[in-house]
Amino acid sequence: MRNALKVAKWEIRRNLKNKSFLIGMFLTPALFLGFMFLGSLFNDSDDDSKTTVFVNDELGLFETLEETVEKSDLNWKMQKTDVTEENVESELESSENTAYLYLDDQTLDEGVIPVYTSEEIGPGFMNQVQTLSTPVKSLQMQQLGLSDEELAAVSMSIQFEETTADELAAADDTEASESGGLLGEDPFAQVIPAAFALIILMSIIVSGMYIFQSASNEKKDKIAEIILSSITPGELMQGKVIGYFGLGMIQSAVFLAFAIPISVWQLGDVPILEYLLVPELILLVAIAILGYFLFAALFVGLGATMADMSSTSNFQGMVMMLPFLPLIFIGPILSNPSGIIAQVGTYVPFTTPGVLLIRLTILEDWPWMEIIIALAILVISIWIFMKLAGKIFKTGILMYGKNASMAEIWKWIRA
């Protein structure tokens, strides 16, 4: 163990002295956060992206329409106009992101409202325009002489409301639990610890990739035998796993050093730290760390079989993709976080950390039984994969300048 720690210390120091590692360490969070918040920045500074809508209103509906637009949060600038349908073409040619609506008696009779749009109009515009159909419809009804009550009944659409057995049970259990969207009352309360854990998971999976590179380089640079004259292969492997765990933690710390201040600044009214420092965080971080050890075992073993990235076999390429497997589950999980697919994803060790983190973010009541079983499977898998990696590493790391074949790897495992 002492020797393993020496290796770990060396790997950390070596990487921290390496320029490309350092650049990557600071660039990753910068890019990540940059893209995350840049998008919202663009959405806010939007005066030029507002669609200008001119209404040639002969029905006196303009105020009602404006009200509707405001209620539905449409990014529109409404204006009255006198431009006739005949002249609209020339007007449109000289403008961008602009539309003309024509409301007159004829439209009421026929139920068709002519809309003329310029270039650069937002792709969702025609959908947005449909919201205006309600006020126009009610005017139509009014003209037919319906009473207000009748109007209300007619203009109300029929909706189906679903309540599942689970929800009924949940409603019985928790008094008056108000379901406020996907994430419950305050989305940040759950998302923040999970985002924290995801950042850690991501950072250490990335550093797990570095493990792969490190083992593979050891093979390529032919230094393994010199190192192994001082320590055992097991110690070298452990040292690498621990060392890159440390690097992953450093990476996470750097990431969070960027993320927390920026989040506090951007999401000013949300008490980030208060939400972050909750007991649940311990479990979430533990899941992330277990995920690291699984992939570290996988990658350190794999790295020992490969000297040359360019001649990777299909099998080895597939193993490299395993950390991204949870992405496949995201869709089904979001649509049903307790569904069968989500459960399967929870129990498959390669997807357990990712899937569990997503599910625990969404679910309000944590399925403790599933969590415990999944973690048990994960821990056992880590143990098995560490054993296997140890066997592969021992032989593979000394096979210089050559990638190991599947048959060889199988033989080492059985040995």
Partner: protein, 308 residues
């Protein structure tokens, strides 16, 4: 002399191939022991078994009478070797010393002293990839002795070195032996081995062929040979007394003489009609013994005969 390393009836097989069979030898304090043999003879396998990088199928290895090899007392320069590319020379030397539990302060001093000795002064902060191949090998050599090992195992230390560096290594290895380090050295460069080593162990196809004192070996195996330049009939030469065999290449003939021949009196048997442009008599070199084994396995039979 105190025995530092004893290898006892070591055997190791890969798949169906017996890489090493029943190999026994020892290395003593303060001596340079050579392990020789053609490619694939099993030298590196033997060494890897000693280092605990592989485990023997059969046999035992002991270090000063202990079964467990104390890795920190051994210095090892493997045949297939390299260093981390983007790391500073001093960093890697200190790391390797640290792995051997050698005090870092002393390691730094020794590293600087050796870098100076090997003409690498001022390179301690260069990264490995900036060094030439020879310089890299010097750093590797330093890394194997920085912790003052009691047993030093060098697998092909001279391969790829220019003559000047070879001499540097040679002198250093000798000095270490004088100070009491037991040295096990494998090499293909027979002239160097002949110059440096006290004892040798030659193997072929995983088995021992020759084992013993360098001088004894030379005396036992290195018979006289007579090289004649000039056109002569091979059959006539073969008919001469005390000639074991004759090798002829164009107009140069090499006559291998039997063991007990007296060179001066043997010369008197040469017929007068022999064409001689040049004539020399010397002992067969280690190099030739080696070639002989590697190509024909002749000595194998001979040793069988002498031991019979």
């Amino acid at each position: 002399m105190e025995t530092m390393l004893r290898v006892d009836q070591l055997s190791k097989a890969f798949k169906n191939k017996q890489a090493v069979r029943d190999v026994s030898f020892d290395v003593r304090k303060g001596e340079i022991m050579a392990i020789l043999g053609p490619n694939g003879a099993g030298k590196s396998t033997t060494i890897r078994n000693i280092m605990g990088i592989m485990y023997p199928d059969e046999g035992a290895i002991s270090f000063s009478g202990h079964d467990k090899i104390p890795r920190y007392k051994i210095g090892y320069l493997p045949e297939e070797r390299g260093l981390y590319k983007n790391v500073k020379v001093m960093d890697i030397l200190l790391y390797l010393a640290e792995l051997k539990d050698y005090p870092l302060k002393k390691a730094r001093e020794r590293a600087l002293a050796y870098l100076k000795k090997f003409d690498l002064e001022g390179h301690e902060n260069s990264s490995i990839e900036e060094l030439s191949k020879g310089m890299g090998q010097k750093v590797q050599f330093i890394s194997s002795i920085i912790h003052e090992p009691e047993l030093l195992i060098l697998d092909e230390p001279f391969s790829g070195l220019d003559p000047v560096s070879q001499d540097l290594f040679k002198t250093e290895i000798r000095k270490l032996a004088e100070k009491g380090t037991a040295i096990l050295l494998s090499s293909h460069q027979m002239n160097l081995v002949e110059e440096m080593c006290d004892r040798l162990f030659m193997m072929h196809n995983g088995e021992r062929i020759i084992y013993g004192d360098m001088d004894d070996v030379k005396e036992r195996y290195a018979n006289f040979k007579c090289t004649i330049r000039g056109k002569n009939d091979q059959h006539e030469l073969e008919g001469l007394p005390d000639v074991e065999r004759v090798e002829q290449d164009e107009d140069t003939s090499v006559l291998y003489l039997t063991r007990d021949v007296e060179p001066v009196s043997w010369l008197k048997h040469l017929p007068e009609n022999l064409t001689v442009q040049e004539l020399s008599i010397d002992r067969i070199s280690l190099h030739e013994i080696f070639i002989d084994i590697a190509t024909t396995g002749n000595i194998e039979q001979k040793e069988g005969a002498t031991h019979a």
